[in-house]
């Protein structure tokens, strides 16, 4: 197993890759690992190709994200949800995910992660435009994907209701002795207030299930700041009470995210049990196109966090260390824009689902409450 990146400081006495289970009565800080944000360049075994893939993925996320807001403001789609600020988490995690083996149980702010594990960008636009060829045939809100062939579970919008589903999927893996597979369950900071979130990590820890819980802590749950959501600073401090290790990582740094996520996923795949990861980031946009964040946070606060924007930060890092040239970066952005324009046009030109689609897939076979 890989060691953790240098910018993750372990407060436990153990070093390297060991994650001790919470000893009974132990103070949380004795075994909770925490991260300190330092934008240093440490490859963690990643090739130029992999680093460039992450940058490309982040460009793609950002442009797809912007496209949703643009289409909404143009009156072409009723609704969009942005993930601006989460790109580092999604790129690093997407690279650590084992395609064809792992299962992703995402939440609605994970468009970029779904792209990162292989979902075609066209699906994002089909979902935005609610076209008949969308996986849900236009039923679901944007960003609520289901992609069984890629291991992406279907989700609802109910916060943390998907966490027990992830645990159930991990239980199935364990029952069938499918070592080498893990479930990745993601959620925001607000989710950790829900009872089902607590029930889920408790059950996963009792049964040492092959699962990683990844909190994308962007500090806001619509208009409610983290300080109104919990009385503690660190979400990983919730882990010790359930006997599983917690790791905090700078989510604006995709390499650090990759290093942590690849390690804890591998630990889960090899029978080491669950981990709670907290990846910090900042939500730069309103909650959705229907929200107006000017009603609850200042522009100054947003600007104070601007230096954490993972896309320009990672771009500058790779240029500075010669992984990509600024010309290459510009060309990549141009290509991504062309791709996003192409899938936008393709999706827009496709038809809505037929109205009779409303009546399909209620049960297997025909839908009829009276027989």
């Amino acid at each position: 197993m890989r060691t953790l990146p240098a910018d993750v400081t372990r407060l436990s006495k153990t070093s390297g890759v060991e994650f001790p289970m919470a000893p009974s009565g132990a103070h949380p800080e004795e075994f909770v690992a925490k991260a300190i944000s330092t934008p240093t360049f440490e490859r963690h075994g990643l090739s130029d190709e992999q680093l460039t893939w992450m940058l490309h993925n982040m460009y793609l996320q950002r442009m797809l994200d912007n496209r949703g807001f643009q289409l909404n403001r143009q009156g072409k789609i009723p609704f969009a949800t942005g993930s601006e600020g989460h790109e580092g988490i999604h790129a690093g995690t997407g690279l650590a995910f084992a395609r064809g083996r792992d299962i992703l149980v995402p939440y609605y702010r994970d468009m970029g992660l779904c792209i990162g594990v292989g979902m075609p960008p066209l699906q994002v636009l089909l979902s935005m435009f609610a076209r008949g060829r969308d996986v849900s045939a236009g039923r679901q809100f944007p960003n609520h994907y289901s992609y069984h062939s890629l291991g992406i579970l279907s989700i609802s919008s109910i916060i943390a209701a998907h966490c027990p589903h992830a645990v159930g999927a991990a239980y199935a893996m364990k029952l069938r002795n499918e070592s080498g597979r893990a479930v990745l369950c993601t959620f925001g900071d607000g989710s950790t207030s829900q009872g089902e979130w607590h029930e889920s990590i408790n059950f996963a820890s009792i049964h040492k299930l092959p699962i990683v819980f990844l909190c994308e802590n962007n500090e806001w749950a619509i208009s409610t700041p983290r300080s109104q959501q919990m009385a503690i600073e660190n979400i990983i401090d919730k882990a010790p009470g359930y006997g599983l290790p917690g790791v905090k990582v700078d989510g604006s740094d995709p390499i650090a995210v990759y290093a942590v996520m690849s390690e804890v996923l591998e630990r889960a795949r090899s029978g080491g049990g669950p981990t709670l990861v907290e990846a910090t980031c900042y939500r730069f946009l309103s909650h959705t196109t229907d929200d107006d964040d000017r009603t609850y946070r200042t522009r100054e606060e947003i600007e104070r966090h601007r230096h954490l924007d993972p896309v320009p930060r990672f771009e500058a890092l790779l240029i500075e260390h010669g992984v990509v040239s600024s010309e290459r970066a510009s060309a990549m952005k141009r290509d991504v824009l062309h791709e996003v324009n192409a899938v936008t046009d393709e999706a827009e030109a496709l038809p809505y689902p037929e109205a009779h689609e409303l009546y399909r897939a209620v049960y297997e076979g025909a839908y009829e409450p009276w027989l």
């Binding site: 849900s136 045939a137 109910i158 089902e196 889920s200 897939a361 409450p369």
Partner: protein, 334 residues
């Protein structure tokens, strides 16, 4: 009904459920049972007694006390290819799991357009008359039968218990399986040996007649049959239909009977307002209004939050066989 054997065994409802679960665990390694106290204790009614020794703690899971995740984890298992049978210890405890049943299990197939399905059984004992007070007596079916995507069955005869539980386990969609706890040891009957299923959505005529139709389910079917026998001795022929399935419901059997008898009495333990009887009544009025010779009558639980612990409070809530017989006489004489 597809029978595996003409041989039968006499058993009560606990034994019927237990036998069915045991055979399902034997037949399909994807099946598992999860719930509170289903392991060493063998469930509070001893339905799963001895299972953990035979099938192991991986398939007979004593869960933490957390109903939302009992159902929610089972949903994830079902989406990922297992055939979980989740147990809610008493139906009164199901409320924390409401979203997982209504918002998640019932919508999995629909929201993913069939990309994922949720073949899940949720078993739970319900119903009163056992001095169970406010939180061990409720009927919950009306809270759930409004929900497309969910199936609900409530058999009350041992042979129906087995056939419908097998059908629920085989079903590709989520099924809420309701077991009236007062019938657990009160009711005995012949149960065919081996595997067989009874189709979900098919009612059964438990007492044939031609003067009056009674539609019921659960404990009250047994009392209604008893009352129908009394009326038969008085010269009034009553047909008693046991719904067995609540969603989907058997319109064909109800309408055929009502068109024959021209009178309909609906009896259920759940309270009247918005109950199952309201939907049946509306359907019969829509479909067979001109075949009726009398107004439809409903004999149901009173509209109070629950039955009390004190004997007079419980007795006031529950409908006696005498009251059923009186209601039948009244409607037959209309």
């Amino acid at each position: 009904m597809a029978l595996a054997s003409t041989e039968t065994t006499v058993m009560n409802n606990v034994e019927a459920v237990r036998t069915t679960l045991y055979e399902a665990l034997k037949a399909d390694e994807r099946t598992l049972i999860m719930g509170e106290d289903v392991g060493a204790r063998g469930n509070v009614f001893l339905i799963t007694k001895g299972f953990i020794e035979e099938f192991g703690p991986e398939r007979i899971i004593d869960t933490p006390l957390a109903e939302a995740s009992i159902v929610g984890i089972a949903v994830g298992m079902a989406m990922e290819g297992l055939r979980p049978i989740a147990e809610i210890q008493f139906a009164d405890f199901i409320y924390p799991a409401f979203n997982q049943i209504v918002g998640e299990a019932a919508k999995t197939r629909y929201r993913s357009n069939g990309d994922y399905t949720c073949p899940l059984v949720i078993r739970t004992p319900y119903g009163g008359g056992v001095r169970g007070a406010l939180s061990h007596s409720v009927s919950i079916e009306a809270l759930f039968y409004h929900v497309p995507g969910l199936k609900i069955v409530a058999p009350s005869y041992p042979a129906d218990m087995k056939g419908l539980l097998n059908a629920a386990i085989d079903d590709p969609d989520p099924v809420l399986f309701l077991e009236h706890k007062k019938t657990y040891r009160l009711v005995k009957g012949e149960v065919p040996n081996g595997h067989y299923t009874i189709p979900i959505g098919k009612a059964d005529i438990k007492h044939a007649g031609d003067k009056l139709t009674v539609v019921s389910y659960g404990l009250y079917v047994h009392q209604a049959v008893e009352a129908a026998k009394r009326l038969a001795s008085e010269g009034t022929s009553v047909e008693v239909i046991d719904l067995r399935s609540i969603r989907p419901m058997d319109r064909t059997t109800i309408l055929a009977s009502v068109r024959k008898t021209r009178r309909l009495l609906i009896i259920h333990e759940d309270n009247k307002f918005g109950g199952i009887g309201a939907e049946i009544s509306a359907m019969v009025v829509e479909e067979a209004f001109f075949d009726l010779d009398a107004p439809i009558r409903r004999l149901c639980g009173p509209d109070v939050p629950a039955m009390g612990y004190a004997a007079p409070l419980e007795e006031e809530f529950m409908i006696s066989t005498d009251r059923m017989a009186d209601a039948m006489r009244d409607l037959a004489a209309f």
